[in-house]
């Protein structure tokens, strides 16, 4: 798989993972918050498998961050049932997840 396609797939997966993670943070009144956080973790682990397939340079990492931010924004806008605090958490959660998969 070429780098461009891999970046696209990786950011698709991470955007969904972060939507779950942010959902689990803002919907704290749920009993199953741990379960939803686990859903996010499952997806992040899938993303890790993609991330280790290539060596990423500074520009690639910049592109990943840019695409992820756009896709996550769209994901969160579509899910109107997640509390609006979700947008405040975006940047911090992006930084955190990229660090987790060594793409910061």
């Amino acid at each position: 798989m070429g780098k461009a396609k891999l970046i696209s797939e990786l950011t698709n997966l991470l955007a969904i993972a972060l939507r779950h993670r942010i959902g689990s943070i803002v919907n704290k009144e749920e009993i199953y918050v741990q379960k939803y956080a686990k859903d996010a973790l499952i997806l992040i682990n899938e993303a890790k498998k993609l991330a280790i397939q290539k060596n990423w340079n500074f520009q690639d990492k910049h592109e990943i961050k840019k695409q992820l931010k756009l896709k996550l924004q769209k994901e969160l806008e579509e899910k109107t049932f997640i509390n609006n605090k979700k947008f405040e958490l975006m940047d911090n959660e992006i930084e955190k997840v990229l660090k987790e998969i060594s793409l910061n």
Binding site: H20, E29, E30, I31, Q34, D39, I42, E46, F81
Partner: protein, 260 residues
């Protein structure tokens, strides 16, 4: 100093402790005494259709006694497979309803240290709990069987909350396009079955939900994904088709709920 051990009894205005007849002269009107709680009385309340053997009953009593030392805990529920399976349970699920935020990890470690068994603590604030027992299919199914330290009756009437249901449907929708382990498919098909039954106003008995799931998937596939065994593309396609079908049915039921 003279002492006696007695139980507190119910009075018409105040609960009371009687001084034993033979000690009347030692404990006189006007004397100053100190009352210390030696052993907390534990009550056990069961959901309907649930009977437990002595071993499980004593274990639960012990858990309730230990948790009585946390004043921030309002109510404790023992739920999950420990109640209904003979031996096939990994841990003991405890649902804690609290007034003031509790440290779940601390309580889990405390219980594991006192009773060398695995516990899984789910904690929720009283206000949220009171709402979830009406709107959440998963919570209602979890509480189908319970043992509690306080009286509890699951509200018969459930409330349809579209946002809540959509939140629960997020992962099943995602599984149509992303890869995950087979157990994730099991958990989410089970989640869908529970949501569908909730919308159809069917009982949310976990055993009936499992039976329905086994019927949908067949014995072999059911056991394969429940045990998180590896699955090939052909099976993933089959599972995705089942998810799609259930999502379509749920979507119709949601539309119907909105109209009524």
């Amino acid at each position: 100093m003279p002492e006696f051990i007695h139980q507190i009894s119910k009075g018409s205005r105040y609960n009371q402790i009687y001084i034993p007849k033979e000690m009347e002269e030692m404990f006189e009107i006007g004397d100053t005494i100190k009352v210390i709680l030696l052993k907390k009385k534990t009550f056990i309340y069961y959901s309907k259709n649930l009977k437990l053997g002595e071993f499980k009953k004593n274990l639960i009593k012990k858990v309730f006694q230990l948790l009585a030392s946390f004043p921030e805990i309002k109510q404790v529920f023992i739920v999950g497979s420990f109640l209904v399976k003979k031996t096939d349970y990994k841990d003991i699920d405890i649902l804690i309803v609290y007034n003031k935020k509790i440290n779940e990890e601390k309580i889990q470690d405390f219980l594991t240290e006192k009773i060398t068994l695995n516990f899984h603590i789910l904690a929720i604030e009283e206000k949220s709990f009171n709402s979830l027992v009406k709107i959440c299919p998963l919570t209602r199914s979890t509480l189908y069987y319970f043992v509690s330290n306080r009286k509890f009756v699951l509200p018969e009437e459930s409330i349809f909350d579209k946002n809540h249901i959509n939140f629960l449907l997020m992962m099943p929708y995602d599984l149509l396009k992303i890869n995950a382990g087979s157990r994730t498919f099991y958990d989410n098909i089970r989640r869908l079955t529970t949501i569908q039954r909730f919308l159809e106003k069917k009982p949310l008995n976990p055993e009936e939900i499992d039976a329905e799931l086994e019927k949908n998937l067949g014995n072999f596939l059911f056991s394969l994904i429940k045990n998180n065994e590896s699955i090939d593309e052909k099976i993933i396609k089959k599972l995705r088709n089942l998810i799609k079908l259930k999502l379509q049915t749920i979507s119709k039921l949601i539309k119907w709920e909105k109209q009524n």
